[in-house]
Amino acid sequence: MEVIAKRPDSLRDVQFTYCPGCLHGVAHRLIAEAIDEMGLKNQMTGVAPVGCSVFAYMFFDFDMAQAAHGRAPAVATGMKRARPDMHVFTYQGDGDLAAIGTAEIIHAANRGEHISVFFVNNAIYGMTGGQMAPTTLPNMKTTTSPYGRKVEDVGYPIRVAELLSTLVAPYYVERVSLLTPADIIKAKKAVAKAIKYNKEERGFTFVEFISTCPTNWGIDPLKSREWAKENMLPFFKVGCFVDKGNTEEVK
């Protein structure tokens, strides 16, 4: 019998602990598939952050490190500098990367660290129960913006992909969406590209996923995707911001 679909080798045979309808599982799978396809599993390592994906180290089937809140790019820097023969990625949410970890992500990107950063943007803090994130949309209600995010008081959401693309060093910066099957196929290509560039030691690669949080948004999973399409995508436009591999001759 021919196997046409199976769990990627780079994912362990365990159940995810994410909420029903959460898209972390999809993002994990895309990363694991790309690692499998590049044949990198035995040289791969990743850094799990603080937030919903704090347990990511239990799901990937290779050595992993858990990091302090926001510090994953610094931890990944230390790992990559110590073991240049290994390939390193971080997997971070919006609170971790775009609030407490802003210094670390900007400087890791600015140094052109040879790591891949996967950034899950669902406009909210999930793990701690739905507080306002740096990516929370204007007027969006959260437990710490119960009257809606007032931009005159706390500013506008941060567009991380655009921010990083102003730096000289990053090799690849793209924002993708996980909201429809067609989007996921495009996202898979972006993840595959990031992991390929990582394997080829091209430099810093960054993929931002537009995702949802049905539990803390209080919207069912399918409607969450509709909501994100209508509200998040106009502000966080998908697209490739930097791809130095496109203009350079690929050897």
Binding site: K41, N42, Q43, T45, V47, V54, Y57, D61, F62, D63, M64, A65, Q66, A67, A68, R71, A74, V75, A76, T77, G78, M79, K80, R81, A82, R83, D85, M86, A103, E104, I106, H107
Partner: protein, 359 residues
């Protein structure tokens, strides 16, 4: 090997490289700047990694990542920067990683000043970061000892998979003294150490699916499992307290009328005063803790001879190690304290005067 004249900051950096340290992450701060600058110059010459981090917070997390691969890694800073590293040190202790941290102390609290101080004793020995953890703390009192402790710190860190701090101060960092370096750690020894770490560290999987995962982690949400982990850490700390206590006894004898206790820079000044008083026929002893944790309680207790009227603690702070001395003395004789703060260093005459008041 011939002696060379060097600043403490440079000597400890050179000794760290000779001990096999090939990864160094730090952020500039006075009075340890010569250390980071020495590393910037020398690391590329030995194919090592020197990286100036965007902050002390980032530097200690780079150390965490590098230590997770089982390699010898170090960071250095001075008091305000060490405060920023405390979160990372707690994680390093929790995840049981080997790493070396150097604190060239300056005056605090807050931004304080850039003069020598010993006011980070509490921070180094009583926590600093969160949770039940212990930091092995070595306190040098000369440039030579500062340099020697680099190798010792790495050996202890590797042996116990625990962070080790060298608690120096601005005086030791800035002062030049002749120093003789020990023989370099051989490539073979370093390979053996790394080989031992391969059972737990992040490294390429050469064994295929049979190899279990290595996780660098301090998170455990199941209280029963965390309880077990912390108790195991406790057993490790107990073992270290039994086996790694170091101190120097100076002029300690049954004739001692007073016993002094001082560490680091302060102990040198106390020694000068003791020598002056010796010339005048007085017998004063000194216990100098070389490890501030584990603390040489027994050495202090045992040095209280029958003629000792008082124990005096000398520190460049408001009285921090004083608490540990009181635990050791346990009410046997009165304990007095003399200190200077704000980056002011007491003179041998001031120490002598304090001792003479009691004699």
């Amino acid at each position: 090997m011939a002696k060379v004249l060097m600043k403490g900051n440079e000597a400890v950096a050179e000794a760290a490289i000779r001990s096999g340290c090939r990864l160094y992450f730090a952020y500039p701060i006075t009075p340890q700047s010569e250390l980071i600058e020495y590393m910037a110059k020398k690391m590329p010459l030995v194919n090592g990694t020197f990286l100036q981090a965007e902050s002390e917070v980032a530097a200690i997390n780079m150390v965490y990542g590098a230590a997770g691969t089982g390699k010898r890694v170090m960071t250095s800073s001075s008091s305000p920067g060490i405060s920023l590293k405390m979160e990372g040190i707690s994680y390093i202790a929790g995840a049981e990683l080997p790493a070396v941290i150097i604190n060239v102390q300056r005056g605090g609290p807050g931004l304080g000043d850039i003069q020598p101080s010993q006011a980070d004793y509490f921070q180094a020995t009583k926590g600093g970061g969160h949770g039940d953890y212990r930091l092995i703390v070595l306190a040098p009192s000369s440039v030579q000892e500062f340099a020697d402790m680099a190798g010792e710190a790495f050996d202890l860190a590797d042996k116990y998979r625990n962070p080790v701090m060298i608690l120096a101060d601005g005086m030791l960092g800035q002062m030049m003294e002749p120093v003789e370096f020990k023989e370099d750690k051989s490539a073979e020894e370093l390979r053996d150490i790394e080989h031992k770490h391969e059972s737990w560290c992040i490294c390429p999987n050469v064994d295929g699916p049979s190899r279990h995962h290595h996780e660098i982690n301090s998170l455990e949400l199941d209280p029963k499992v965390l309880e077990k982990h912390v108790n195991e850490l406790g057993q490790k700390y107990d073992y270290i307290e039994k086996h790694e206590v170091r101190h120097e006894a100076y002029n300690v004898s049954d004739d001692n009328e007073i016993l002094c206790v001082a560490f680091g820079t302060a102990s040198r000044i106390v020694k000068s005063a003791i020598n002056d008083l010796k010339d005048e026929g007085r017998s004063i002893g000194l216990i100098r803790p070389v490890t501030c944790w584990p603390y040489p309680y027994e050495a202090v207790t045992n040095a209280i001879g029958k003629n000792v009227k008082k124990v005096i603690v000398f520190e460049l702070n408001l009285g921090q190690m004083l608490d540990d001395v009181k635990i050791a003395v346990n009410g046997k004789v009165p304990v007095d304290f003399f200190g200077k703060v704000g980056g002011i260093v007491f003179t041998p005459d001031e120490v002598k005067q304090k001792i003479e008041e009691i004699l």
